[in-house]
């Protein structure tokens, strides 16, 4: 198995044409584990880490475009991402460990499409759009259309993710990501919740965006709960009243890390904890 390292996209299409069965990788923190487990053994690998165009972050009017090959550490430290999308920064801070965040990339986390992928709830809350590119050109899909199931995406043959588009919005009062895992570093989530809330000065919820991870075969969002929250004061009573809705919306599974019953309970408890947030509390 040979490993190829194209430095520009044009070279990528060329080497992929010559090695049609090749798989791509960037940080390798998912793919090389799969190779070791023998889950996949392609005739060739193409590493995207040297393609500079995939590591840029830039603004286009009201949108920030993140190159898919940007490592998590670079995103966590980027001033524009910190200011505009704190919920993403909170999520990436608890993804893996420092060396995993130095190697692993946003594009790799999205393409892996694990229901436990830590960037995903934040990207759903932010209505991320995924830019897909092949030798012929680019197309853009909302993230919830791109991810079609656990480990399943709408990636076409010889197509890669080149960028992630995030629209800047009026700032949220609260941006946070909380995950419950078995230990602090490197724990794959048992359940997680990304939340963005805009509160009025008197503590009413003007708008709410919520997304649960590891709580079903896909990331769970709920327009019903978001609508029920809007206009209401953020109180324990409000949240308690919505617990039946949370339990209805999530559809977790049993696996080696936790049972479905426990996951449902954790998903509900993460939601209840939102009442502990005071105005301005970014990540309590």
């Amino acid at each position: 198995m040979k490993v190829l390292l194209p430095e520009i996209l044009e070279m990528l299409w060329e080497v992929w044409e010559q090695n049609p069965g090749a798989e791509v990788y960037t940080g390798g923190t998912d793919l090389l584990v799969k190779l070791r487990e023998g889950v996949t053994w392609p005739p060739a690998l193409i590493c995207l880490e040297r393609i500079n165009a995939l590591r840029q972050i830039w603004e286009e009017e009201d949108t920030v475009v993140i190159g898919a090959g940007t490592p998590h550490t670079a995103l966590i430290r980027h001033p524009l991402i910190q200011v505009e999308f704190p919920v993403l920064v909170e999520a990436l801070k608890v993804l893996g460990s420092p060396p995993i965040r130095n190697m692993g990339t946003l594009g790799g986390n999205i393409a892996t499409a694990s229901p436990a992928g830590d960037s995903l709830p934040a990207l759903y809350v932010l209505n991320a759009e995924i830019v897909l590119t092949d030798a012929k050109g680019s197309r853009t899909l909302p993230i919830h259309e791109f991810i079609t199931g656990p480990g399943q995406t709408g990636l076409g043959p010889r197509e890669i993710i080149t960028g992630i588009r995030l629209k800047k919005t009026a700032p949220y009062t609260v941006s946070r990501y909380e995950k419950v895992g078995k230990r602090k570093a490197m724990a794959i989530a048992v359940a997680s919740l990304a939340t963005c809330l805009r509160l009025s000065p008197d503590g009413r919820i003007e708008s709410a965006r919520l997304a649960w991870g590891s709580a079903g075969p896909a990331i769970v969002t709920s327009p019903e709960i978001e609508t029920a929250m809007s206009g209401q004061p953020l109180t324990p009573e409000l949240l308690r009243g919505l617990i039946p809705a949370v339990e209805r919306e999530v559809s977790p599974i049993d696996d080696i890390r936790a049972t479905a019953v426990y996951r449902r309970k954790v998903a509900a408890n993460l939601f209840l904890r939102l009442s502990g947030i005071s105005e301005g509390g970014a990540s309590a």
Binding site: M1, K2, V3, L4, L5, G27, G28, T29, L32, V33, R36, L45, C47, E49, G96, S97, P98, P99, I100, N102, M103, K184, A185, M186
Partner: protein, 160 residues
């Protein structure tokens, strides 16, 4: 495949299968046994090396990715190659080494931490070393060692 990179300050060039894991290149092809392998899947940090100064896991990197890079392993940390680097010395003095299997990874992760943050808090030290597992020491003495190393280096006016 011919691969050229800088290893512990010296240029090297070798003919390697491009899909060979970097940890195997270092240990088996180049005879540098300081880099350890325990889990082989990114969980433990024993195989940590610095690539262009940044900690990466050599069990999750393939030989082709070394091309043109500047790699530091534990063998290259002490410039003289004879006396220990102040960080290594601090690990010895603080009693942070028992079996020693995690130590090269811990020391390299510390090197990077102190290069960015010369006087970290204990909490910052724990966070920076959270990708490195030690089954012997219970971590307290490792955190002590990093504090001691920070003191030694700032006293000398050196950076890691």
């Amino acid at each position: 495949m011919k691969i050229s990179f800088t290893l512990n300050g010296k240029p090297v060039s070798c003919d390697l299968p491009s899909n060979r894991r970097v940890v195997d290149v270092l240990r088996e092809d180049l005879g540098l046994m300081g880099t350890k392998e325990a889990c082989g899947t990114g969980e433990c940090g024993a195989c940590t090396i610095l690539v262009d100064g940044i900690p990466r896991l050599s069990c999750l990197m393939l030989a082709a990715q070394l091309e043109g890079r500047d790699v530091t392993t534990i063998e290259g940390l002490s410039k003289s190659g004879e006396t220990l680097h102040p960080i290594q010395q601090a690990f010895v003095e603080a009693g942070a080494v028992q079996c020693g299997f995690c130590t090269p990874g811990m020391v390299l992760a510390t090197t990077h931490l102190l290069s960015e943050n010369p006087r970290p808090t204990r909490e910052e030290i724990r966070e920076a070393l959270s990708g490195n597992i030690c089954r012997c020491t219970g971590y307290q003495k490792i955190v002590d060692a990093v504090e001691l190393a920070a003191e030694k280096l700032t006293e000398k006016g050196e950076t890691a």
